[in-house]
Amino acid sequence: MATKVNRATAVREAPASRHSPELLLGLYRMMVKCRMCDEKARILFKQGKYAGNFYSNVGQEGGEVGGAFSLRKDDWVAPSHRDWTSCIVKGAPLKACFAQLYGKTDSPDRGKSTPAHMGYPELHIITPASTIAAQLMIGTGVAWGLKRQGKDSVVVSYCGDGATSIGWFHEALNFAGVHKLPMLYVVQNNLWAESVPLRLQTALTDLSDRAKGHGITGVSVDGNDILAVYEAATKAIARARAGQGPTVLECKTYRWYGHSEIDPAKYRMPEELAEWKKKDPIPRFEKYLADRKLLNDQIKKQVRDEITHEIDQAVEFAENSPYPAPEEALEHIWA
């Protein structure tokens, strides 16, 4: 009798995770934090609280968090304009992140660049530019320097599917391949490069195949499966640290909103978005955690309450931070 009960229980219970509860909940918290910060940034823009523009990452948190979650402090991140939340993953204070949106003096660039271009030198986050794939080339140069110094630090760069078409993507991969550089190229394939669908971007199905032409490792994963991304990224980062060379990690995902906050994205079919919203990486991971009794409504609420509090403080800080004096425009041009 007892045996039967046990068997029945075993069938209902999900297999134990290979990962510790601390890691799993850490990944979860970080995905929720990125989602909530990103949504808040969108709302603030729509409320006219800051100028410029914002490039939402909502829907892509699997790749964003999984790609860089296992980095050390001495490692580097080379984000694109859509990776404001990668700064959060690397550990940048939310106060600085929101001050960046507002263009205030407490932003790392003191309002010089735009909301989307957040770097953080103390945490080795390279200040991004809007020119496509430039961050991959600069990041590759950093990796070259790190390798020459005999360090085991690595560089994780982010780009979208569109960036894999430009020559500089290939110059970077080629150079990284020649010198077996400690690079992880996270390609967030969200199927749309601004308004251009993937079918007009490339004849490839898997963007990780781009790696083959450069003699380096390419891996494609379901970008909305945080554990698939985390495991592939962690393996690639370990290979990079061990001197075994770079990896292209394609995360197949979807961008929920327009290219930017001024783009209603009417070029997409609503059915496509609805289909991808069903694959939202966060509820999917919540189910995984709940199945293993690591998450319940109470913990979910607690996580969200804590993040809400932190965001509220960061927004208040950003709003109270002073604007730079006009003459500051003249500073930091020359050494």
Binding site: V142, G145, R148
Partner: protein, 328 residues
């Protein structure tokens, strides 16, 4: 101890000495390691410092410059080479959008101490794609120094100063000067100011503003004109960005006339900016309109010898310009 050496030997010596002095200095580019460079500017460096510090890069200018930028972020002082200025197009984004703006867009959080050596200039039969001047593509952009020395002495001292400078630098080396320009050059390392133009020849009748290979052409023309009673003050700009406005304006205030000579095509060449500066700051001192002797507005530089001669500014063209200005 000083001895007479060529422009290219001065560059080679500067690279050797800076690499010996500072282990953070490394170089990369096309054909410059095992091959020693197409003009031998980097001869002997690969043999002395090895592949770790003298890297033959893939044939891709974008990553040459971007790799240098990235390495500078982790403490190196890279000296990448662009083999011919005509090939720099692929590296324009890394140079202008990344290197030149990095300090600004990180509010000083990052700096980018790289020195990009670029071989430029016509008059050697290189034709289209091996002769172009494109200094003003870059002089227009705040945040990156643009240098164009004209003497072996300056080549060594300015290259050493550039490598030690915290700003990104474009160091334009005129290929015609490589083996024709010779001067007394100290054996030991030294630096030359990157902020000051040089008055090569004092004069009272007119100021001639020039740089690069043209500086030597202008000096010859000025000596000839002196025999005809026209004493020109020759100012070698040396640094095209940021310009040494003080020396330029002071000279014109003294001579009251100004001729600008450059090899570059006329439209929006550096002469246009020099003229505008003088218009703003020395208008009341001018006794004649500012005049220019420059390359014509045609694709630089056509190949066939008569066509190249048509393009290049030479002594006769400079003297004609000086005559015209003196007679105004």
């Amino acid at each position: 101890m000083a001895r007479t050496i060529t422009f290219i030997d001065a560059i080679n010596e500067a690279l050797h000495q800076e690499m010996e002095r500072d282990s953070r200095v490394c170089i990369l580019g096309e054909d410059l390691g095992m091959g020693g460079g197409v003009f031998k500017a980097t001869a002997g460096l690969y043999q002395k410092f090895g592949e770790e510090r003298v890297l033959d890069s893939p044939l891709a200018e974008g990553i040459i410059i971007a790799a240098a930028i990235g390495a500078s972020l982790v403490g190196y002082r890279p000296v990448p080479e662009i083999q011919f200025a005509d090939f720099i197009g692929d590296a324009v984004d890394p140079i202008l959008q990344q290197a030149a703006k990095l300090r600004y867009r990180s509010a000083g959080g990052y700096s980018c101490p790289i020195t990009i050596r670029v071989c430029w200039g016509g008059g050697t039969g290189g034709g289209l794609y091996h002769s172009q001047e494109n200094t003003t593509w870059f002089a227009h952009e705040p945040g990156i120094r643009v240098l164009a020395p004209s003497t072996a002495y300056d080549a060594k001292g300015m290259l050493i100063a550039a490598i030690r400078d915290e700003n990104p630098v474009l160091f334009f080396e005129h290929k015609k000067l490589y083996r024709t320009a010779k001067s007394e050059v100290p054996e030991e390392p030294y630096t030359v100011s990157l902020d000051e133009a040089a008055v090569r020849r004092p004069g009272r009748d007119m100021t001639v503003l020039t740089y690069g290979y043209m500086a030597s052409v202008v000096m010859e023309a000025a000596e000839e004109m002196a025999k005809r009673g026209v004493e020109a003050e020759v100012v070698d700009l040396r640094t095209l960005a940021p310009l040494d406005k003080r020396t330029i304006v002071e000279s014109v205030r003294k001579t009251n006339r100004c001729l600008i000579v450059h090899e570059d095509t006329k439209t929006l060449g550096i002469g246009a900016e020099l003229s505008a500066i003088l218009n703003e700051e020395a208008f009341d001192d001018l006794d004649a309109p500012i005049m220019r002797v420059t390359g014509p507005d045609i694709p630089p530089v056509p190949f066939s010898p008569p066509l190249e001669k048509f393009f290049m500014v030479d002594k006769d063209k400079v003297m004609a310009g000086m005559e015209k200005l003196a007679g105004y």
